[in-house]
Symmetry: C2
Subunit: 149 residues, 2 copies
């Protein structure tokens, strides 16, 4: 895969990632460092919470999503640099044993108003589990360089 | 700190966190697992990128923000459970040696339309570095239980 400049992207393009499994041990160690709440730390303690069992921190899901996105064919020149999100949500929990993958779709491509060498790419990124159910949906804006003339 | 139910929150309340330092080593190991791009992995490789030097992955900043928020006095009963974000952005990079802290402000408190035992809290969360400069700004919606009658 070569890297893509703004001119190489078009509305409607889609990109897929490989898969990444999420195990109970990493759910707990991630949560111990970054999101120490009972439903992310311990199966028994998680049972009586809103999650009814151990679930990954949403930030763990977000981090794994980024890994899958970086390794997908999206490959903007200069890297994946997020300018912010228009939407970001976790429609269902990620459970131990889930296998996650990512589908992204280009929604908008436009040159930057302030920086003539840059553009913005609006991308919907959906993280799916092994049953094809979305576990994270985001609409983000990426900074992408324009092709040098 | 006791836990707070929906009825204990009011628009305009603010909550502050402690501080957490970000070092170069954890920036790199976080990135190696979740965001393997040159500007997060290696000082020399980062120099010629849009970041002009090593910067933490935005997801590392987001994860540290969650840690600070969980340990702050916000303390909704049932834990901090995000239903999604209306806004989410990183206005400037986090650098090795930065000390992060979080300020959150309640923007809206409302009972859930579909679940009589739950409500939604709209919270602006700003992550600041040691110079008081915002490095992450989000407006998120948290699910908070109503006080049992």
């Amino acid at each position: 895969m070569t890297e893509r400049y703004l001119e190489d992207f078009a509305v409607g393009q889609t990109f897929r990632s490989g898969q990444l499994p999420i195990d109970a041990e990493r759910i707990k160690t991630f949560a111990a460092e970054f999101d120490p709440q009972p439903f992310h730390l311990d199966e028994a303690a998680a049972r009586d919470t809103v999650f009814h069992g151990l679930a990954a921190s949403g930030w763990h899901t977000a981090a794994v999503t980024m890994r899958l996105l970086v390794e997908s064919d999206l490959k903007p020149a200069g890297g994946i640099v997020g300018a912010g999100f228009d939407e970001f949500r976790w429609p269902r929990p990620v459970r131990p044993g889930d296998e996650l993958r990512v589908e992204s779709e280009v929604l908008e491509v436009r040159p930057s108003r302030s920086r003539p060498d840059q553009g913005l790419l609006k991308v919907r990124t959906t993280t799916l589990n092994q049953n094809g159910e979305p576990v994270q949906i985001s609409i983000g804006n990426l900074m992408v360089p324009r092709r040098p003339v």
